[in-house]
Symmetry: C2
Subunit: 398 residues, 2 copies
C-alpha cells in the first residue's frame, strides 16, 4: 500500500479527458464507468501520507485513497508533496508541519484546504479526513463534503461541527464517538491492510505498549501491570508528554525488563506486535478508535484494554482480549491470556477491520450521497447574530 | 465614533429591499443611490471592535466602518458580538479571543471568516482587515476582496499573499511596508478620528512611551533617553514581552521619574499624549504604521523616532518631530524639541491622517474595483504541485 509512484494512476473519468484506463497496473477490474466517482480526499498535513511513523489520520487517508483507486475511482489526494500514493497527488506543503519547522501549520493548512475547495468542481464528492477547518469552506461549493470526525480533540471545536451539521455528512469512527448534538451519515470503523501485518500463531514473551506516550494512553499503568505480572514490557511510540515520560516512564527503563523502542516504522511495528503476549491498552480516556489495537489483533496478539470509548466495539471480551477496569484486572487478564486463540484475533480483524471493508463502506456512502443529488450547500446559516432584520440568503456565486 | 446603536443605520440599497433612506440620523447627505456600495468588512476578532485598549487592526476596521456608514454606504461589520458599530453587525464569537479564554481562536476565526464569505453575494466588495486567512476563501466567491495587509508578522505568511496576489487587491498601510513580490492596488495610510484627540498648544513636562512593551518598540531606549535628558518618562501600553518588562523596564520604575501607567483607554491615552513634551518612538523594526505616532501629533506632541519602516512617511523630520539614529541623537532631539510648532503637528495630521481621508481613499478604491467588473476570482491557481497533467480549471459552482 502506498508505495507505487504517482505516475501509476488509474484514470477512468472521461470528463477529465484522461488517458485510457490502465489495466496493467492492478488486478482489480475497474468498476463500470457510471459508478466511478471523482473523489477528492483532504488528508491531514501534520505528517506525510502515509505516515512514516505516528499519524493515524494520514494512515486512514492513505488506506482510503489506495483502496478507492483500486476500485477504479478517480481519486485526488490533497496531502504533503512527499506523500506516496497511487491517486493523483495535489500538494501545497512540501512536508508535514510536524516534520519540517519550515512549514507553518496555519499558513499551509489554509493553502491546502483552499486548494481542495478551489478544485471542488472537479469532484463528485470531497472526503474530509482533516478536521473541522475544511467545514468552514464547505458551504461555498456545491460539491458534497463528507467529513470523517477523527475524535473531538476538545469541546472547543464542537461549535464548528454544530454549525455545519446540516451539510457536513459526518462519519463517526466508532459508535462511542458519536456526539449527541450531531447528525451522522454512518459509523465507519477504520480498517487496515492485512498484508502489512504478519500473523504469528505463537505468542511472544513480552507485553507491549504501543502508542503516544501520554497519561491518556496509560504507559505508567502498563509498566505496573508488567511488573506485577512478572513479564518484560516493550514500550514503543512517540513521546507526546515529555514531563510524563521523564517522571513516570524513564525511571523504569532498564529495570524489571522495561525497554523503550522509540517511535517505530511499519516493519518494526509489525514485529513488535506479533511477538507480544498481549498489547496493554490501559487508556484513561474515551478513545475514538485504536488503530494499534486492531493492528495487534491482526498479528494474532490479544489486547488488554480498559472498556472506554471504542474499546468495547473493537475488542471482543473473552475472545480477542479482555476489557479490564483496573491494574488488578489487567494482571489477572495477563494470567488468562493463554486461554484465547490467536487465530480468533486475526479472524476477527479479517471479518471486521480490513481496509477493503472500510473502503467499501466509504465507497457505498459516497455513492449514496452523490446519488442524493446536490448537497445542502448554500443553505442559509442558522447561527451567529446579526442586526440585519431581513437577512437575505447568501448567493455565493452571483 | 462607534457609539451609535446598530439600529441607526443608513440604508439606501434597493437591492436589499430596504427602508427609505433615513435623513434624520446624520448631517452627511447620502451619496447618490448608484454610488452606494454594499460593503462587508472583516475585522480581527482578537479584540472587540473598536478595541477597549490595544487593538490597532480592530481600530482601523471600526474607523473604516463608521466612516463608510457616514458616507451612506451599506456596511456589514463582521466582528465580535460585543462590538459597537453603526454598521450592521454580524458576530460569531461573543468576545475577542484575547479577552475571553472561552473563545478558541482557530475555531472562531474559521466560523467568523466563513460567515463573511457565505454572505459574499450580499456585498459588492469585501474589505479584509483580518490577515491572510480570508484570502484562502476568496477564490470561492465572485465578490472582490480587498485585503489590507497590516504588516507581515513573519516571512512565513508570505506564501499565502503570493498565492492570492492575482485576486487579493492588496492595500499597503505604508509604502515602506510594500513587499517587492506582491502587487498592490494602493497605499492607504491609516487615519484617526481627530475629534478623539484634544489639541493642546502647550507642551507638558514628561516624555512618553506609548505602545506594546516589547524590545521591538524600544521601551528600554526611551528610559535611557529620558534619563540622559533629565526628564520624567511615562510608559503606557500592554506588556507583550514579560521577561523584557521584568528585566529592562521594571527595575527603573519609580526611579529617575520613570512611571508605568499600564494599558490605557481612549481618555487617558488622549491626556497622556497631549501632555507630553514628545513621544519617544525608538523602534527597532520596520514598523508598517504607527497609530500612536499619528495620535501624538494630533494632540500637538512631536515625535522622536528612528527612521525605520513607515516613520519617514509619517514624521516630517524637523517639522513634526525628529528622525534619529541612536540614543545620542534622541537626547539631542529632546533638547531641540522646543523649536517645533505643536500647531504644525496637529495641522499635518489634519492634512494627511484623518479618518475622513482614509475612508475616502478606501471608498474610492472600492468603487474603482467594483466598477472594474467581476473580480479575477476563479482564475486557475498557479502554485502547488499536481500529478494531473492536464489540470482542468476549477469550476467552483457547477
Amino acid at each position: 500500500m502506498g508505495v507505487r509512484g504517482p505516475a501509476g494512476v488509474v484514470r477512468s473519468s472521461t470528463e477529465l479527458g484522461g488517458d485510457p484506463i490502465d489495466l496493467t497496473r492492478t488486478s482489480t477490474p475497474p468498476i463500470p464507468e457510471r459508478t466511478c466517482l471523482r473523489i477528492g480526499i483532504i488528508a491531514s498535513i501534520a505528517h506525510r501520507t502515509p505516515p512514516r511513523g505516528y499519524g493515524p489520520w494520514e494512515q486512514v487517508a492513505s488506506t482510503l485513497a489506495e483502496g478507492l483507486v483500486a476500485l477504479g475511482h478517480d481519486v485526488t489526494l490533497f496531502a504533503t508533496a512527499d506523500s506516496i500514493t497511487s491517486a493523483r497527488l495535489h500538494a501545497e506543503a512540501l512536508h508535514g508541519y510536524e516534520e519540517d519547522p519550515g512549514v507553518d501549520a496555519k499558513v499551509y493548512e489554509g493553502l491546502h484546504i483552499a486548494a481542495a475547495f478551489e478544485r471542488a468542481g472537479e469532484f463528485d464528492v470531497i472526503s474530509n479526513q482533516f478536521d473541522f477547518l475544511p467545514l468552514t469552506y464547505s458551504r461555498l461549493v456545491s460539491t458534497p463534503v463528507v467529513t470523517t470526525i477523527h475524535g473531538f480533540s476538545s469541546a472547543a471545536i464542537l461549535p464548528v461541527y454544530r454549525e455545519y451539521d446540516d451539510v457536513g455528512h459526518y462519519v463517526a469512527i466508532s459508535d462511542a464517538d458519536r456526539h449527541p448534538d450531531l447528525g451522522y451519515e454512518a459509523t465507519i470503523h477504520h480498517g487496515i491492510e492485512l498484508s502489512g501485518f504478519t500473523y504469528r500463531p505463537d505468542p511472544g514473551e513480552h507485553l507491549l505498549f504501543l502508542g503516544r506516550i501520554h497519561p491518556d494512553k496509560g504507559t505508567h499503568l502498563a509498566i505496573e501491570v508488567a511488573r506485577r505480572a512478572g513479564l518484560p514490557l516493550v514500550i514503543a511510540g512517540i513521546v507526546q508528554d515529555k514531563a510524563y515520560f521523564r517522571d513516570l516512564v524513564q525511571p523504569h527503563l532498564g529495570r524489571s525488563g522495561v525497554t523503550y523502542a522509540g517511535p517505530v516504522g511499519p516493519a518494526e511495528r509489525d514485529a513488535l506486535l506479533g511477538r507480544a503476549v498481549a498489547l496493554l491498552h490501559l487508556i484513561g480516556f474515551a478513545e475514538p478508535f485504536g488503530l494499534s489495537v486492531v493492528e495487534a489483533l491482526a498479528t494474532g496478539t490479544p489486547v488488554i484494554a480498559r472498556p472506554l470509548g471504542s474499546m468495547p466495539e473493537i475488542v471482543r471480551h473473552g475472545r480477542t482480549g479482555f476489557l479490564v477496569d483496573d491494574i488488578a484486572g489487567a494482571v489477572d487478564a495477563v494470567g488468562r491470556i493463554g486461554s484465547l486463540s490467536r487465530q480468533d484475533c486475526r479472524d476477527d480483524v479479517d471479518a471486521r477491520f480490513t481496509a477493503e471493508r472500510m473502503v467499501a463502506d466509504y465507497a457505498e456512502l459516497f455513492s449514496r450521497i452523490v446519488a442524493g443529488g446536490p448537497s445542502a450547500a448554500n443553505r442559509s446559516r442558522r447561527s451567529g447574530t446579526s442586526t440585519t432584520a431581513n437577512r437575505t440568503e447568501a448567493s455565493l456565486a452571483p
